[in-house]
Amino acid sequence: MNDAMNIVELQQVEKQYQGVSALKQLSLELRQGEVLGLFGHNGAGKTTTIKLILGLIGATAGQVRVFGEDPTQSEARNLRRKLGFLQENVSFYDQLTGLEVLQYFARLKGVPKKSCLSLLDQVGLSEAGKRRVKTYSKGMRQRLGLAQALLGEPKLLLLDEPTVGLDPIATQDFYRRIEILKQQGCTVILCSHVLPGVEKYIDRALILGQGNLLAEGSINDLRHQADLPATFHLQGNGLALPDHLAAKASQDDMGTRLDVALGDKMSAIQQLIGLPGLENMDIHLPSLEDLYTHFIESHRGKGVGQNMRQEAAQ
């Protein structure tokens, strides 16, 4: 395979369901070893995008290429061996044990059965593997689903809400696994609306809203695009802030709050650090959650703004 080739390539892709547009003009390129976060509210077009990449549905317009081929063509079926997928809310076969479920999927994928035991071990189900899936908790089903997605060392992994139902430790484990896979050259698409903790592990984020691409880029890119301030919280007695900072300060229950543009962050730190009486200083950079909220709201705000202008005109 050509190293420079894009693993996933979407060009001006649109998808309509019975006249309702689920995805509008989406273009996307993913290289080997990239981890992409796909974010958006319910019905934003995340699952549609994933289904298009999997070849489960065809695009209404535009071009989808996965490993350089059209995934909806039957010749592309063998490409699916290089693909791992975990969807939201999969409940598997209650009558079978975890190991039997995994072995069934392994056989369908043409993966040796012996890899199943080690996969179950990796997701922490080695004990539960002998029990029926019926007895599993939601988190255990999710981990079984993950083991299923990892069968046969996939080159492209699509995970829809992978951490739903996982406890914090298991979530950490999961992200660490993604990190290892990335180092092995696996391309990962993470689809989620649960955001805390995910930003460290993704190279790029794509924020969708009502089928539109709202923002795309690394977390740093997004911070610059959004131009959200860094928030300082200062605690101490008799703080005398320099004039230009005092104008931006306000009081809240955590002490003095200060919103500073990202570009001025370092100079602000230098000025604050020597301030007499300062006991504590917390700096909060805009998190992915803040950025997500910002892009969704500003998109919605546009709509609301237009409506208000229209009403005013009437």
């Binding site: 699916r80 061996r81 969807q87 076969y93 009558q95 079978l96 056989r107 369908l108």
Partner: protein
């Protein structure tokens, strides 16, 4: 081919695991042994009596119960996987739609065939051992035809279940339609035919009428087992059909045609199903 066998193998194990195989075996063997032993109770006798009356009464009971079991076994074959989310997942595997559907039908067909063979076969064995009047040689032919046609009947209704299951989007709807399907094939069709006879005061084309029975696989199944024992005193629809002699082989052929129709239809519908 490998994928079909993998799916079929899993379906068969499902059948063993959720006790379908066991329950069908028990139902069939109790039915068959009971009829064989108590079949002549009305005439004031118990014990193994005539082979022909045993098989004919077995066939007329099996014609109700086999379609019902097959429909219950397979009605959620597609729609159940869809509701579980596993259908979507399976479609991302190197597996085509027809392989999945055929695999599932083969697996559940094996459940049906295996249980029918064990269930009804056990009664043949009991009869062979305990009956003073019927020899092993006499038993094997009729029971082979009966079991073979019963398996075909089961397969036809499994395939019909898949037509239903692939067409609907909810499990409960599939269950409802399956029940109606059973009702139509097993009860309404024959009632309609009888009604037609009575309504026209028997003035129906005698050559045409038996062919109308070929429109219903359950009637073909009964004809297969009745034509094998032409000496039976028959009543109702079957007596009329007896006048036209279909050979056992051509009737079994009719069942095979009936099997390919719903299989093809199910594949066509499933191919167009959205995900």
């Amino acid at each position: 081919m490998n994928a079909i066998l993998t799916v079929a193998n899993k379906e068969f194990h499902d059948g063993l695991r959720n006790r379908w195989v066991l329950s069908i075996c028990i139902i069939f063997s109790v039915l068959a042994i009971g009829l064989a032993y108590f079949g002549a109770a009305a005439a004031g006798k118990v014990g193994f009596t005539s082979l022909s009356s045993t098989i004919v009464s077995l066939a007329s009971l099996a014609v109700f119960i086999i379609p019902l079991i097959a429909l219950m076994l397979a009605y959620d074959g597609v729609v159940g996987e869809d509701e579980n989310g596993t259908l979507l997942l399976l479609m991302t595997y190197p597996l085509s739609r027809w392989q999945l559907l055929l695999g599932k039908m083969v697996g559940q067909g094996a459940v049906m065939a295996f249980s029918t063979l064990i269930g009804f076969g056990s009664s043949a064995v009991m009869m062979g051992i305990f009956s003073g009047t019927t020899s092993w040689g006499e038993l094997i032919g009729p029971y082979a035809v009966f079991i073979f046609s019963a398996v075909l009947l089961g397969w036809i209704f499994i395939a019909i279940s898949y037509v239903i299951s692939a067409s609907v989007s909810e499990k409960s709807k599939a269950a409802g339609i399956a029940l109606i399907t059973w009702f139509i094939f097993v009860l309404v069709f024959d009632l309609g035919m009888l009604g037609m006879l009575v309504g026209t005061q028997g003035n129906v084309d005698e050559t045409l009428f038996p062919y109308l029975l070929l429109l219903n696989p359950t009637d073909i199944f009964r004809l297969v087992n009745i034509t094998y024992f032409a000496d039976q005193n028959l009543t109702g629809l079957m007596a009329i059909a007896q006048q036209t002699q279909f050979s056992t082989l051509s009737l079994l052929g009719g069942l095979l045609v009936w099997l390919t129709l719903p299989v093809t239809l199910a594949l066509a519908i499933f191919n167009r199903r959205g995900l």
